[in-house]
Amino acid sequence: MSKQVYDVLIVGSGAAGGTLAAHLAAKGVDVGVIEGGPKIDTRTAFNTHSMPFDFPNRHIPTMRPGVSGFESERSRGLGGKTMTWNAVAWRLSHRDFKGRSIDGAGEDWPIDYSDLAPYYDQIEREVGVCGNLDHLEDLPDGIFLPPVPMKCSDMIVRRGARKLGVKVIHVRKATRSIASPLRPACHFCGNCMAGCDVVAKYNSYDVHMLPALKTGHLDLFPNSVVREVMVSSENRATGVRYVNRETRAEGEVRGRSVVVACACVQSVALLMMSKSQRYPTGLANSSGELGRNFIPHFTGGVEVFLKDLMAQPTTDDEGFLDHAYVPSFMHTRKRDFARSFGVQFGYQNRRSVGWARSMPGFGKAYKQSVKDRYPAFLVFSPYGEMLPNKQSFIDLDLNKLDAYGLPMARRHVAWGENDRKIFREMTRWSRDILEAAGAEFQNVDNEPATNHELGGCRMGIDSRTSVVNADCRTHDVPNLYVVDGSVFPSASEKNPTHTIMALAARVADYIVETLRKGEM
């Protein structure tokens, strides 16, 4: 391995790591990206066009036979979760950044929308986000490619929502709706989350890192599962130690500064594994806040059959998965809770018919009832914002080691009173909207489930209550950064990746400025 000392060493190659690497390399900074998983070719590695009957157990695995990758959270592959994400890309709003000031609960971000807006612009130009200009106070517009038309089912839901005064808008996704010189437009094959084989959907390897390699300022270290961030006696991060994914051999890479960007829980875990005399409970944890303030999104779920589509001919509508969205509307209404929720819906694909089991009876009538409902099936998933609480945190399970001999990360989640209220309200609204749209109910979740992991390395001004400052630099170690969902002080109800990329672009500017001043 290279003995070179990089200007910046980034652990993780997903939305945060990939974006940051590209932005730094473009400005002449020498960057090394360390990724636990292998290099993955999105054109050939995934089962993008597979059907369940291609496999004896009828389950479509992530990787094609004989292709490695996505084995564990610590060894996914170059591009990380952007390889299999659904590409939903919202800007957070002023309300999301200043939730505490507005409704007195949770935490404010030390930055505001205006700080991140120019970086949202940059990211939209680079990755290509399609969407409609909706002029909503709570969901800022951006620089969008044309939106993808709504499906029949979206129109039916919109008709129902309208009766209740609720808006349904076009979803915004980092998937190209029109071609660019380098990337084709989406061809609506319908399996976005099984890896996009033409890169119409953004992934950080093909869109950010691959072009950055041409600058000569970027080196990639795949198959390197980082076990520790090294810190000198002068309290400066000096590089990382890793375990080779295939050979289990140990290695080191050095950097003048280090960025931890391995997706929320794993970033927390890596800092916790990097213990020393100075930092006995984990690196950059003088506040004791590392791992705390874990605030993943919680989702509910309502499965229905839309009456208007029952027994209708099937259509080819899985392409691009969900095309529409119910943006947050409660934040302007009278309510007895803080924060709000939004609803993603219609992202079920049509290759799985698990609900067929629960249709009653058997025989001809049963077969017909499944056939009639197949074109009408719709999943409605509200996403709520969780407030931080003491029982929700990330830690290491020192008794459970993974394949690399590293302790497993553990998630602890307890729902607070406000979370329960939002959950009840978002489930009620989902039912009402679908009722108004005309629906037969198949299943209504009565317990929240977590998704979109956020928090654990809270960003804040006060070094006693947060782990990183407004520039994602740790309060404790001047050349150590954390950039990913873990720094979110409050979660918002909006899918976080766009904000993670914008933060990465902002941190890149900050690091370049710091290097220019010779501070590092």
Partner: protein
């Protein structure tokens, strides 16, 4: 059997990778405890005699008959033609937990057939077979799963639904699946009644 909640828990343990809580396919085929890595060859619909891996020939006959009673041939082929019995055999042979309940359920059915009609289940007239299964199905629909045979019916019905609706016959021919194609543009909904 794995409920959807169990599946979500498992996902929680491995970390949620994406905004897709309902992608959790809790297909029976996924609950595998392989001694050998699963074959990666495509499933071929039944051709010629099939040698069951778990079931005896007689048990396999019964499973096949039940599957076709659950999803019979209509204007499209039924469960047997779609290879469902082979799928069930695959699932049970890869998962010990299903072995005993399956075998005992089949035994119970034989016992009932003998007691009432002095014949094997597969030799009964279709109405007689339906008569034996109907109370089990009704109980399952009421979410009542007190007895082993009720649970047996629920399992074999779920496996039949899984196997059928993930087969080319079930998914494409019966349900009319149209995706996984290349479209130049997405057809906009222009139904006036949807606006």
């Amino acid at each position: 059997m794995a409920t959807r909640r169990d599946t979500l828990k498992i996902i929680g343990a491995i970390g949620s990778t994406c905004a897709f809580p309902f992608s959790a396919n809790d297909l029976y085929g996924q609950q595998e405890h392989h001694h050998h890595p699963p074959a990666s060859t495509p499933v071929q619909p039944a051709r010629g005699p099939y040698n069951p891996k778990f079931f005896t020939t007689r048990e396999f006959e019964t499973v096949s008959r039940i599957a076709d009673l659950i999803i019979p041939p209509t204007d499209t082929p039924g469960a047997v033609a779609a290879g469902v019995p082979e799928y069930i055999d695959y699932v049970v042979s890869n998962n010990r937990q299903h072995e005993k309940p399956m075998r005992q359920g089949i035994k119970w059915l034989h016992h009932q057939a003998r007691k009432r009609h002095h014949k094997r289940f597969v030799e009964l007239a279709e109405e007689q077979q339906i008569e034996l299964l109907a109370p089990l199905s009704d109980a399952v629909d009421r979410n009542e799963m007190k007895t082993e045979c009720q649970r047996f019916f629920r399992t074999i019905k779920s496996m039949t639904a899984d196997g059928y609706y993930t087969s080319p016959i079930g998914l494409v021919q019966e349900l009319g699946y149209k995706g996984n194609t290349v479209l130049a543009s997405f057809p906009e909904c222009d139904h006036p009644e949807h606006q």
